[in-house]
Every structure is written in C-alpha cells, then in structure tokens.
C-alpha cells in the first residue's frame, strides 16, 4: 500500500525554518504585558555576555528570550533557563534598561506548568 516504505533516506519538511504565519507567540504577548520594556531589546548580547550561567551552563539568555518573540521554544531550550541564578547582572548591563531579571522570573513563572510536567527532574 502507498506510504511508509523506506528507501534509505528520510525526507525533511520545513526543518529549521521558523514559520511566522503559524508560530505560537502567546507567551510573547503575555510577557510583553508583564515587561513592557522588553520589546525595546536590540539583541546586543550584553546580558548573555555577563551571565555566569552563560559561560558554562547551557543558557544563552539573549537567544532564548529573543526566540520567544518568534516562536515557543522547545522544552529542551526552555529548560536551559533552569540554570539561571537570577543574580541580576544582566539587568545591570542592559543598554536598553530592560528589567531582564524580572523577565527571567516571568518566563519561569509563565512556563512553570509546561516545563514541570514534561521535564520531571529539571
């Protein structure tokens, strides 16, 4: 019957493409209400640069919260936020004065159930 034969190579669909028409940006709009200054982010990377967890934990804070503006990150990507120490250094260096520490807390809070159910031992 047609379908499900394997010729030794797999077929990729959209793959790594971000499809902005259908991407889920619900988390982004929630965060925008909570932290309005966040939209002024220009992705300069100061936060990620000074982040202690960034240097050896798996967390790239800039890329993560920027990604949220485009699409809902995967569980694996979101769980990198678990190594955030909330130390607040990123907030001190942000040239746009965005309360990044609060942003991190809000991301954790708003994805708490989503992450806890799926990653038991975060």
């Amino acid at each position: 019957m047609a379908g499900k034969r394997n010729f030794g190579f797999d077929i990729q669909g959209g793959g790594r493409q971000i499809d902005l028409d259908h991407a889920d940006t619900s988390l982004a709009s929630e965060l925008k209400d909570a932290v309005n200054a966040w939209s002024a982010c220009i992705n300069c990377g100061s936060c990620a640069a000074t982040c202690p967890s960034g240097q050896n934990g798996g967390l790239n804070f800039r890329k993560l919260h920027y990604q949220i503006r485009l699409e809902l990150p995967t569980l694996q990507e979101l769980s990198t936020l678990s190594s955030c120490l909330l130390c607040g250094k990123c907030q001190l260096v942000c040239p746009r004065g965005i309360p990044t520490r609060y942003l991190s807390i809000q991301i954790m809070q708003k994805t708490k159930h989503y992450v806890r159910e799926n990653i038991p031992s975060v």
């Binding site: 047609a2 379908g3 034969r5 010729f7 077929i11 990729q12």
Partner: protein, 350 residues
C-alpha cells in the same frame, strides 16, 4: 507577467545548427532528442547536424569534482573544433548543464584569454585539432522558444482541456544552470525567465506562478549522487510540489533533463514513502521536457516519442488534451512485440 523581463533578450541563430546531445537526457527520456531533431528538420525545415564524433561535455564529472576543469575545457574545445571542421557556427546544447558549462567556459576564456591559449595547446597536443568559439551558443529550448509561433501555427493540438475548454494550467521549471548562473544568457533573465512560459502561452496553456517557483527541483549533483544526501534532494522536490499543489496544475514542463527526471520520479517515491500525491483526485502531475511538449502539440504519436517511459502515467493528460493514442501499444516496439511492462503502476483515473 509584466514586461520588463524583456530587458533580458538574447540573440538566437535561425539555422545551420550543430547539435550536441545530453548524456543523460536520452537515458531518462529516450525519444526526446530524436524528437527535437525531427521537429527541427521535418517540421521547421532547419538543417541540424549531429557529429558522430562529439562527446559528453563532462558536466556531471566536473560538477562532482571527478573531472578537473582543464580536462573539461579541452573536451569542450574539441567539441568546438569538430563544429569548426564541419563548417557550423551555431551550436545547440541539448542539456541545461552543458549549456551552463559552455557559457561558463566561454565566460572564463573571455576574462582570461591566456587560459584559452593554454587549452588550445592541450587540444593540439592531444588531438592535433584547432578550434574557434561558436558564434551563437544556445539551449534547445531557446530554439523552440524562437519558433514557438511557427509551431503553434502547424500544431495539431492546443494545451486546452478538451471537455471544459479551459487552458491547461502548466507549471514551468527552469534549470538553474540555464538562467541563474548567467542571467543575461537566459530569455527573460533569472527571476522571471520566459523561455518555457513563452511556449505555454503560445500553445494555448496558462502559466502558474507559485511561491516556490524558483526553488531548486532537487537534482543538484551532490544531492542525489551521494546516498546520504538523497534525503535533501527529495525534500526540495517535496517543498516545490507542496507549494504548487493548491494551484492544481495539469502539467509540469522543464528544460533540463535532471529537473524533469526528478520532479517526475520523486512523485512516485513521495507517494510510496509518505502517501503524498500532488495531482488532482489522486493523480500525479505528469512532467514533460520542452521537446516532448512540442512533439505532443505537433501531433506526434505519444508512444513514438517515448512518453511511456515517464514515471507518472500520461494517459490522463492525453485524454484531457484529446490526443489520439492506442493504449495497447504502450509497451510494444515497432514490430509490435512487448518490450516489458514496469512492475508497479498505480494509476487513478477520475
């Protein structure tokens, strides 16, 4: 299509052609090249010379790093030498990759004359021949584009749906080596090439501009030749077919042997692996080359010009246009004995 693609007009010779064949086109669609010569000679009254000694342009080898550039250039110089010896000035390349390669070589010689001298030296040393650059070097589809109206005037059929009277929706796919490498060497440039759409509109069809129109067909030498990459090749075709599906095209035509083959063959594989079918009501979309389309319109017998070798069965389309054909003779040779039926035909006719 608005007109400013007219800024890209190329000069196409009108007779005395020196035809160089493609090394893979006749493997995939055996009738195509003979059909092209036949149309030129018998339908358009042109003189077409095909030199028995001419060889492959080594394009496939060159693009997969098997053949070094200088060897390719010497082989191409030999082709030009043959042409000069036979007294012809206008060359037609049957394959788009050859056309791209000839253009590239001529372009390199233009910018590095010393390279041309070196190749001339190699040729003399190897074959004792000297060569001259052709006055006019075009692709086979350019010729059909040039005489598309003459063909239309003597055409037996039109690309019109016999029952509904609607022009058939035809998707054109241009080989990348035709217009993308050297836009000014393609009719209409690289963004909105007209060489195939010209044929479609001239012969009564309706062109389709779908979002992934310029996307690669999946041929890409390194894609399909190397087994691990074959997944990329079929994925490109899938993206294209998915993008054209909403337009419900009746036919796809392409001017490069690779594109026509893969857009045709991969439809079978996609159905087998993913159950995806892109034509209307379960049919797949037939894929023709420009010569086959011309032959069809001019009334050649479909089995005569080798349409039965296509992966996607063509009967549904032939019925749509109203082409007479004898279904029983599909797999018989001239003497009428069976030449073997392909193992799997899943054909839905609605």
């Amino acid at each position: 299509m608005k007109q400013y693609w007219k800024d890209y007009q190329k000069e196409i010779a009108d007779d005395n052609y020196f035809y160089v064949r493609s090394c893979i086109r006749q493997n995939f669609f055996p009738g195509a090249e003979n059909l092209f010569i036949d149309i030129l000679k018998n339908k358009l009254g042109k003189t077409v010379f095909e030199d028995a000694e001419h060889t492959t342009c080594t394009g496939i080898g060159y693009h997969t790093d098997v053949v070094p550039l200088e060897t390719t250039m010497t082989v191409i110089a030999r082709q030009f030498a043959l042409m000069k010896e036979k007294g012809y000035r206008n060359m037609i390349a049957s394959c788009v990759t050859s056309f791209g390669l000839y253009s590239e070589v001529l372009d390199m010689w233009k910018h590095q004359p010393e390279l041309k001298e070196k190749i001339a030296g190699y040729l003399m040393e190897a074959t004792g021949r000297t060569f001259e650059e052709p006055e006019n070097m075009v692709h086979a589809s350019d010729i059909l584009y040039k005489y598309r109206n003459e063909i239309a005037s003597i055409a037996k059929y039109k690309l019109i749906n016999k029952t509904t009277g609607e022009p058939l929706k035809v998707v054109d796919h241009i080989g990348c080596h035709y217009a993308k490498t050297f836009p000014e060497r393609g009719v209409g440039g690289s963004e909105f090439p007209q060489v195939l759409t010209g044929l479609i509109t001239a012969w009564g069809g309706q062109t389709v501009d779908y979002p992934e129109r310029r996307h690669c067909c999946g041929f890409g030498f390194r894609n399909y030749l190397v087994q691990p990459n074959r997944g990329y090749s079929i994925s490109q075709s899938k993206i294209k077919l998915e993008s054209m599906k909403p337009y419900e095209p009746d036919l796809i035509i392409a001017n490069c042997p690779g594109c026509s083959m893969f857009l045709d063959r991969w439809q079978y594989t996609l159905e087998e692996t993913e159950g995806a079918v892109y034509g209307t009501c379960g049919n797949k979309i037939p894929v023709f080359t420009h010569e086959e389309l011309a032959g069809l319109v001019l009334g050649y017998d479909p089995w005569e010009i080798g349409l039965q070798t296509h992966q996607v069965p063509v009967e549904a389309l032939l019925d749509k246009i109203g082409v007479e054909y004898n279904p029983d003779l599909k797999y018989t040779d001239r003497q009428g004995n069976l030449i073997g039926e392909p193992e799997l035909i899943n054909q839905h006719v609605c």
